[in-house]
Symmetry: C2
Subunit: 332 residues, 2 copies
DNA sequence: TTGTAAGCGTTATCAG
DNA sequence: CTGATAACGCTTACAA
């Protein structure tokens, strides 16, 4: 099954491969007649240039890698669209990899991406030290960290002010005169979650509320975990009167548990959640939530990456922090 | 900035490039000593083979294309994971493209994927006639259609029994002694939605209920559309007593609208929805829903594609239809 | 077991 | 404006 190459087009058009190549990208001068003819046979032969061959001579693949933890987390699809819509304008494609927070998987993916010679990388790193990124750096392949940062190599980055978001979320609860405020969320070792936990603690501190260790349920992973955490914390002798949900999955678990316990929101329990996703408005009552500019996070990181890949923009690394806002609904 | 190539490794190991090549994929015989030496210098030079160069000689990229409408639709992330986890085992990577139901975008992506010489394609086609797929077919690039099918080329496919799912959903409502049943959903021209609409109609027919055109709100696109549709249909002089939500976005709109109208579910209105996503259980009350084996749809299509790419399995195209099930909760 | 040389599909250089 | 020719990084006969 011989594939049609530029030579076939050349032969059929009675010109050289060079000429065909020229009409294809259209930079160089080619006589109108010849161009016409070539275009014609390209069509008739149904010829499509081989990007891999191109890549090897141009040292450029027009592909970027997107490495994130799990596209199933409702945060990511919007992020991805922000990235994709931005890079598409410059004709880049994207290879997607899900690490599931597993550094081994992550390294394997990075290796594959490197071998495919991607032009740039956008990554939500599993941890603060990704040694393989050194290899990218050494080859001058631009890296943008999103949502989390890395400390062993200097990269551009786009994150959100998780600390402040959590702070105002917790403060909102305090201002609604709550004193016994629980926090339910995932693993604190994850950068964003750690920041949110800090924000929660700081808000309590600022308002002179002593943190009750029993009200801290950090370390869940699945919705079921969060559901159980909620059940547990509200079964305490002195249960909290409010809860800050540090992530979107925990919000689901909390609502499920509270529904099962027949607790009315906000009468019995107030809630503020992190992440304002489409379905939180369908909850009863609609969730008061911290909203992140998710799409924009994606678009911004893609812009940063494009700048680097096209060698535009400043040479110093940029570290952008976008801000969050509180969307008040009826759960608090 | 010269990149390190196989020749550098060869030179530094005092062997030929051929030998290096051999130790890299490990098929051919190489003396242990030489192998050792080569491996060593590969490490010390931090050499990584160039997959593009490889691709051009092997006529194989180890990349597949995944073309879907919009990863933001909560149906897709799970589908994607089913695909990814399956192809990763065979060391394939995936380029993701979102068409937004736009045939022009779709064609552009397909062209790009073709030029990148992907080994296989998984696609949720925007419509029933995607002419560009002919080009893939002509080049023997395997295609698997997911969730929807195409009629102008023969492909493997994996779909779900949308008709039957909608049928039993509607029937469930009827069996709860509803007669005035509305349907709210997206554009009927989309294969899956059309099938669901058929299922709804057929169920009514079967049970001798005449369909009331006023109860049919098909054509929404955004959550706001569905919210408005709900508002409208329940403002009718003789409003329905139940509603079948033909998609997950419509479910969100319906709950929002019903909440606003202070309608109690299921006391005032019963609901059955299509798609059993994680958050439907957090709704009040939890949604009775048609569940699709989303992950499995993905995994199955990836398996089909792998078979073709590795030239295993039967030569006749396979058209697989997976079944749905009704998950009963409290909204009906 | 190892190496030489040709070839994969492009593009860039340099003459003409 | 057009065409040889070399080069990109790798693999695979074919020889040795």
């Amino acid at each position: 099954m011989k594939s049609i190459t530029i030579k076939d087009v050349a032969k059929n058009s009675k010109v050289s491969a060079t000429t065909v190549s020229r009409v294809i990208h259209g930079n160089s001068k080619v006589s109108p007649k010849v161009r016409e003819k070539v275009l014609e046979t390209i069509k008739s032969l149904n010829y499509f240039p081989n990007e891999n061959a191109r890549a090897i001579v141009n040292k450029r693949t027009n592909v970027i890698g997107l490495v994130l933890t799990d596209i199933s987390n409702p945060f990511y699809p919007t992020l991805l669209r922000g990235i994709e819509n931005t890079i598409n304008k410059s004709n880049f494609s994207m290879i997607l990899c899900n690490t599931d927070e597993n550094p081994t998987k992550e390294e394997r993916f990075l290796r594959i991406l490197l071998e495919k010679r991607i032009d740039g990388l956008i990554i939500v790193p599993t941890g603060p030290d990704i040694s393989f990124l050194k290899t990218f750096e050494a080859r001058n392949i631009p890296i943008v960290c999103v949502d989390r940062v890395v400390r062993n190599v200097e990269t551009d980055s786009v994150v959100v002010d998780n600390f402040h978001g959590a702070f105002i979320a917790t403060e909102k609860l305090i201002q609604s005169s709550h004193q016994r405020i629980a926090i339910i969320g995932g693993n604190k070792n994850i950068f964003t979650i750690g920041e949110r936990f800090r924000g929660y603690t700081e808000a309590l501190d600022t308002h002179g509320i002593v943190t009750n260790q029993d009200y801290i349920k950090m370390g869940g992973f699945t919705i079921e975990d969060y559901e159980q955490d909620t059940l547990n914390v509200f079964s305490l002798a002195t249960p909290p009167t409010a809860v800050f949900s540090a992530g979107n999955l925990s919000t689901i678990g909390i609502y499920i548990a509270l529904n099962k316990m027949k607790k009315k929101i906000p009468r019995d329990v107030s809630i503020v959640g992190f992440d304002d996703l489409v379905w939180v408005e369908a909850l009863t009552p609609p969730l008061t939530a911290i909203s992140q500019p998710i799409y924009q996070i994606g678009a911004t990181s893609a812009q940063l990456l494009l700048q680097r890949m096209l060698h535009e923009g400043p040479s110093e690394k940029q570290n952008i922090m976008l801000s969050t806002s509180l969307v008040i609904r009826e759960s608090c």
